[in-house]
């Protein structure tokens, strides 16, 4: 009797295994198809990935992170004297700028009052910490520790103290995933700070620079010119610093982003009114 049961069990197991493989292949193609059509299920899967994969991978890789931090700390200690001197000079320089900035800020407030201006169209929703960042292998993304509970929504722009960083592409209860501006699939409408020259820039393959994918005029900007967001498309607010032109070729304009996209720490999520 038990022998018969064993045979029946093995036949059943074989049947299940025979069904399992086609099921996996069908699932593969369905997932790819749903991913391309932005199906809700795949969006949920991606969101779950942020909440589950990221913390687990952080724990797994923590010994490596600790070792790398220790190496970096030792390296920093070697140059501490030089760095200190540099910082002292920087403080003197910044103090001069601070006086000028306070004066300009007062003037700005006075002029806005006189003009009855309502130009300030952005709010800072949340200042969040970057919990993990993807390597420069494929997409350039980062995860921050703020989500639905902090009123963060998809496509909200993200900045840091230096300039534009990216936009929110996926939100969960406590975390959000950002697409950085140096990713190849990002498109940022920009304009020159000192001229009405408009372009769209996106990330390059090396992830260090931004490259113009569309230029409105035939005008060739100069190396050193600064690009700010143009506000077109209503995803990024106007006049946020993006980067500085480092090279101009016949086909492209190459821009170095102001934000250090490899060492992100605190970011601010904005809401456009």
């Amino acid at each position: 009797m038990s022998e018969r049961k064993k045979i029946l069990f093995s036949v059943k197991a074989k049947k299940i295994s025979n069904l399992f493989l086609p099921f996996l292949f069908i699932l593969t193609f369905l997932l790819i198809f749903f991913n391309k059509t932005d199906y809700y299920l795949v969006y949920k899967l991606k969101s779950a990935g942020i909440d589950v994969i990221s913390p687990i991978s952080k724990v797994i890789s923590s010994p490596v992170s600790i070792a790398i931090n220790a190496i970096n700390n030792i390296n920093d200690l070697r140059f501490i004297k030089k760095e200190n001197l540099k910082l002292k000079q920087e403080i003197i320089r910044l103090k001069k700028w601070q006086i000028l900035a306070i004066k300009n800020s007062r003037e700005n407030v006075a002029y806005k009052k006189l003009l009855n201006s309502t130009s300030d169209d952005t709010d800072i929703i949340k200042t969040a910490l970057v919990t993990s960042q993807s390597p420069n292998i494929y997409a350039k993304t980062a995860i921050i520790n703020a989500g639905y509970k902090d009123k963060i929504k998809d496509t909200m722009p993200v900045i840091n103290e230096r300039g534009l960083v990216g936009k929110v592409i996926s939100v969960t209860q406590n975390n959000s995933k950002l697409l950085l501006i140096n990713d190849q699939s990002s498109s940022i409408p920009v304009k020159l700070m000192n001229k009405d020259f408009y372009a769209i820039v996106s990330g390059s393959t090396n992830g260090k620079h931004l490259i113009s994918s569309f230029v409105k005029d035939y005008y060739k900007p100069n190396v050193g010119d600064i690009f700010v967001t143009s506000g077109n498309g209503n995803i990024y607010p106007q006049d946020i610093l993006v980067g500085k032109i480092v090279a101009v070729t016949d086909e492209n304009i190459i821009i170095l982003p102001f934000a250090d996209l490899n060492n992100l720490e605190f970011l601010q999520v904005l809401n456009i009114r």
Binding site: S17, F20, L21, L24, F25, L27, T28, L31, I32, F34, N35, K36, V42, L45, K46, G49, I53, I56, S57, K58, V59, I60, S61, V64, S65, I68, N72, S132, Q133, S134, P135, N136, I137, Y138, A139, T141, I169, S170, K177, L179, Q184, S185, T205, N206, N262, N263
Partner: protein, 162 residues
């Protein structure tokens, strides 16, 4: 008993796969570290597909593909599709591989690795319009040659544990 004979190393390989995955998807100041562990994931996937072929590997390949896609691309496609193609390919050539000596096997694994990396980049370009990064691909090839012998030496030690 043959099941137990194979079980121990395969668990170590899966454990290695999880660790490599954790290190790959977090960016460090040494960017090359991510690439080395990314290549190591591919080495492990190909190696267990050849030497420890079992039906449950289909599920391991499926899971690895989805997790890599979600973490590195935030999309689903290139790794998942490549790994599923790879496991079918390996299941078809199993009988032919028995006749290979160790040197031929190393060459076979290297060639499969380059093809897998190439296929991933091509599918990424076709599905999501990411430019084929030739510089990155050449860097991967160069790094693979650098790490292949230490990796195989380490894998042999794991195999001997069984």
């Amino acid at each position: 008993m043959p099941f137990q004979w194979h079980l121990k190393p395969i668990i170590i390989y899966i454990f290695l796969l999880i660790i490599s995955f954790g290190i790959t998807i977090n960016a460090y100041s040494f960017l090359i570290l991510n690439l080395i562990f990314y290549l190591l994931i591919h080495f492990i996937i190909i190696y267990i597909g050849i030497y420890y072929y079992k039906k449950f590997l289909f599920f391991i390949f499926f899971l690895s593909g989805i997790l890599l896609d979600l973490s590195l691309l935030n999309e689903i496609g290139p790794h998942l599709l490549t790994f599923m193609i790879l496991i079918i390919f390996l299941s078809r050539v199993q009988k032919m591989l028995i006749r290979f000596n160790s040197l031929k096997m190393i060459f076979f694994i290297i060639i499969v690795l380059f093809l897998v990396l190439f296929l991933e980049k091509i599918i990424t370009y076709l599905l999501f319009n990411y430019t084929f990064d030739i510089e990155g691909y050449l860097k991967s090839i160069f790094l693979s040659f650098l790490i292949i012998f230490p990796v195989f030496f380490f894998f042999q030690k794991i195999d001997n544990m069984g």
